[in-house]
Symmetry: D2
Subunit: 338 residues, 4 copies
């Protein structure tokens, strides 16, 4: 897996040590509730830095594959896995790499997480912006979390990456139960960006929430995105929903934050807060109906070492995409408005 | 309001008569439950066609403003409307056109709807794809609609654009009640695209659902997007959620459609189905807390002629953005895969 | 003719009076050596400004057509003009607007010049950069001009826009002779940008000279581009060609400027200097061989009111494209490097 | 050195053997008149193919560095080489990799040539288009070559890549003389594309010649570009310059090709023919004036193993960029016009 980052500001101090921690939060085998595949996912910076600092030119990085077992995929050469991308790739390209899923493998998110680690560093050091994601819900188990105060340390305090100490163990038990049953489960990740100044975003097509939504919906297994009050906001009236403005300490603030930190496509200085829904992982250890490449009806049973729940490993992916979108808008704002 | 469409295929027959109907579905004053502003919103094609056919060069169109009442906006010169874009524009650009909202006015969606009408025509005539949107929910009133069979004629059968004959009158009554109360209400629009062949979309960043999501989240007042099973899909297990493949009449079909017609970012030939949440309209006829441009706390009461519910007029906007995204991917597919 | 400018910085003072002078330098009928078509080319700003200042949102402008004589173009409906775009448009799109050339008409440069006037204003006011173009050569008559000192006032001192007082009258006489002969003539425009700081440009594909070259080669009738020493530089050896660096007053300067102000794709702080070749105008008042739309051999004689030499009117086009490219790189530099 | 190709059509047969030959034509040490650095430049395809065919997903390739001698560059850490990119990179980014030139090294053209080999294969197999470049001039020694008939085999018949048997040995002798003198020399490469159908290109900003020009001017050491008649065309009148159309065998052809195969930005079916000027290589083995990073005046003498003339190795670079631009327009044409 490789990734190329273009447009990174120069003279940012950057080594593999800045990137590896986020990759470690994404990698297989990190805990008892994720896939046991053994992959160290060691990142190496190939270009774009010099003596520990970014050059301003493209940064390329890579992570070598270590635990590929192509033989585990032989049946996939001829059968389409339900709710995977096998069939659509075949339909689109007329060819597909059935060994390990090829481009459709969720291993592609390594590149996103590596790039996101750089973006988060830029946000932190140059814009004082902090991005924190966490598991908000696993199936019906919902967590109570305060978006204004939650810290990454709390998120990392347990293997399911849920900062609610009551909900987390329940989530873990559910995921373990699912794994034993050869089944899988989905849920919701919430992510906040704190410290974003008012003024990032664009008025029409590239609204900040539109770009955040696109980033999240481009993640494997994501099915939904909401910002601020989201779907629940449709149950309120305008009077109930509006965020009143107040002068607080010389700054324009809102008394509530149903807008989720964005109004008219542009950040308003409040905490940006959004949620992403991830479907239950499609690979399950049960016989399922499908068709083969000759369009014959058949069945397929999941094999291999898959995640019973993608959410713990998806937290750094969500943070990465959020950081990449935010940096992009930060630089656009600097370009146009100085 | 003007719009420029680039990349339209040549030799498509196109006149204002192809575009005006969608603009009429968007325009103010069309019914008792939308803003009573009188704007005919007549579209004029300025370039890009010749003798009733597209030239392949950019198509520019415009719609003249007719019922502007700048004096209605005087108070806005000095006060920020809650949950509007006044403050964020001021923060971003250091200047804003407070007359009628300028760029942040929802009148900008005229351009989207006009371009979308062209996109829908291309989809219909060159790809046999049909896009139909409708109101699925107003506040707590939800409609029952079959995405596989619903027709635009049913949608247009009532002024709220909900094809459920039972729910529609309830929705209308709620909206009328809200207007009398000087308040507003939000809801959900569902949209389907039928006939999309397997193979539209891209594997990673430009997944079809990601581009659809971005399009929808770029619409004024939208707060959430979900495709297929969406948030509700997180309540199922993998076994329950997966869409089994079957050969039906020589075609690969799925027995269920929790994927919403897209797998791995690429269409699978099933009906594409997604939902968009719109918040209650921010302009309400009540005194609300806010600050003025000198950061002094003050209050502001909505005036003017606003919609108590944006949904009936947002249906053609949702269809337009869906059509624009789909045509873009249709042409990308043709470019790369012939 | 309309034009939309995206990404313009906010709060720049801007009215039609900033744009009209450059359009007047481009318009037909301005002097005895250009086409006598009567077109005032009055520009109108439709959006993007408020109380005389830019809003940061897109600026749209237009210029109405006044002197169209579609009947002058009837023969073109069936015959392809040699060395025009009639045939290639027909081949590409399968349709073309033969009235006045449609999109291929050089009237499209109105949009470039209008946008360029805004770009030149940004360069002047925010970056202290001055762009000056002038006619360097008409056919074999070459001018002597010092790129370091030439001023626009000198350029505008005569109708051929050549700041060499000796060469200018000869050029004018040649152009008048060509017009009487119903023939046409080409030449070279040189353009300088002074005050560009070191650091604008990109290392690989978007080198500053590459973007300048693209801008110039996108102008109608242009056939060649060279920066600094250009083709003549190939006659020198490396020792002769290199620009030695010297510290001059605490700044890094070069003793010569064969690089044309750009090294490795990035400006070096010296005057940017390039040349563009324009072919002789294709419309001549003589019978020429061609084919008709049914592929039958035939002849066609130019009619209508065309320029015997495009160069005097092309000067503001060259300046406009240079300014647009430079502003783009200025903002990119600000985005990435702060 | 790595390269990523996006948008390549699927199911194209592709292995390293398709790419290596062009890299061999670019690599150092290939003959007596280029730099003697020993680099095999073996390409490896890392992703994007499966069982010898392209997948439609991004193709990444790389070539490992083998003969780096960082110590050869130590003096460059503190001094700016004249007419190199050292100073401009420092000015732009505030940092630079002075070992081997970093991003500004001409080794970056490996990526272009590798991608170009894929593009040439697509052009050949899917569009029957042939791209051939050759050395047209070294300093004052000009070759006679017929653009309509010249074959790559003739170009490869000698080490200077000039298909004129009389001029080639003179060019070789001049280059050898320059190397002995520690000096360098430049010249002109001509490139043709035969078989391009009428209809590739765009009307305004992305004219085919504009994109070709940008591609060429983005190559290291290039200073000028001309298409068709180019600068020399300015010496003709319109009557002399126009390309008359004739029906030849049922096809629209031109009797001459001063347009260089492109009219109005769009290919007309004739041979596309353009020229690119390359300056003499900046590294010479003589003491030259320069400044150091502390802005002190000093001198610097070239060391290391450099090319006395870049042209023989630049031929595949020119072909590569031409092929990449042409494929891009081929796919754009297919997208829009079917």
């Amino acid at each position: 897996m490789g990734v190329v980052i273009d447009g990174c500001p120069p003279r940012l101090s950057l080594t593999e040590a800045d990137i590896q921690p986020d990759l470690d939060r994404r990698r297989p085998g990190q805990s008892a509730i994720v896939t046991p595949r053994k992959e160290a996912d060691r990142v190496e910076i190939l270009s774009g830095t010099f003596e520990g600092k970014t050059l301003g030119t493209p940064i390329s990085m890579w992570v070598k594959n270590e635990d590929a077992r192509p033989e585990a995929y032989n049946e996939m050469a001829s059968k389409f896995r339900p709710s995977h991308a096998d069939y659509t790739y075949q339909a689109k390209f007329g060819i597909r790499n059935w060994q390990g899923g090829g481009r459709s493998s969720a291993r592609e998110t390594i590149g996103r997480v590596a790039a996101g680690a750089v973006a988060r560093k830029i946000l932190r050091e140059q814009f004082q912006v902090e991005v924190v994601g966490y598991v908000k819900q696993v199936q019906r188990i919902a967590a109570q979390v305060d978006p204004e105060t939650v810290k990454q340390k709390q998120v990392e305090a347990n293997i399911v990456r849920c900062p609610d100490e009551t909900a987390a163990p329940k989530m873990i038990r559910l995921i373990e139960k699912m794994r034993r049953a050869g089944d899988s489960v989905g849920g919701v990740i919430e992510c906040v960006a704190r410290g974003v100044p008012a003024g990032w975003g664009e008025p029409v097509f590239d609204r900040l929430e539109a770009d955040l939504g696109k980033g999240m919906l481009s993640l494997p297994a994501s099915k939904a995105f909401e910002i601020g009050s989201g779907f629940a906001g449709t149950l309120l009236t305008g009077l109930q929903h509006n965020d009143a403005f107040r002068n607080q300490g010389g700054k324009v603030r809102t008394l509530t934050n149903r807008s989720g930190g964005i109004q008219g496509g542009i950040s308003n200085g409040e905490t940006i807060c959004f949620r992403v829904a991830f479907k239950p992982v499609a690979t399950v250890m049960h016989e399922q109906q499908t068709v083969d490449v000759n369009l014959q009806n058949t069945t397929l049973k999941g094999r291999g070492r898959h995640d019973p729940c993608v959410l713990p490993r998806a937290v750094p992916m969500v943070e990465a995409m959020a950081a990449l979108v935010l940096v992009d808008h930060a630089l656009r704002q600097r370009a146009q408005c100085g």
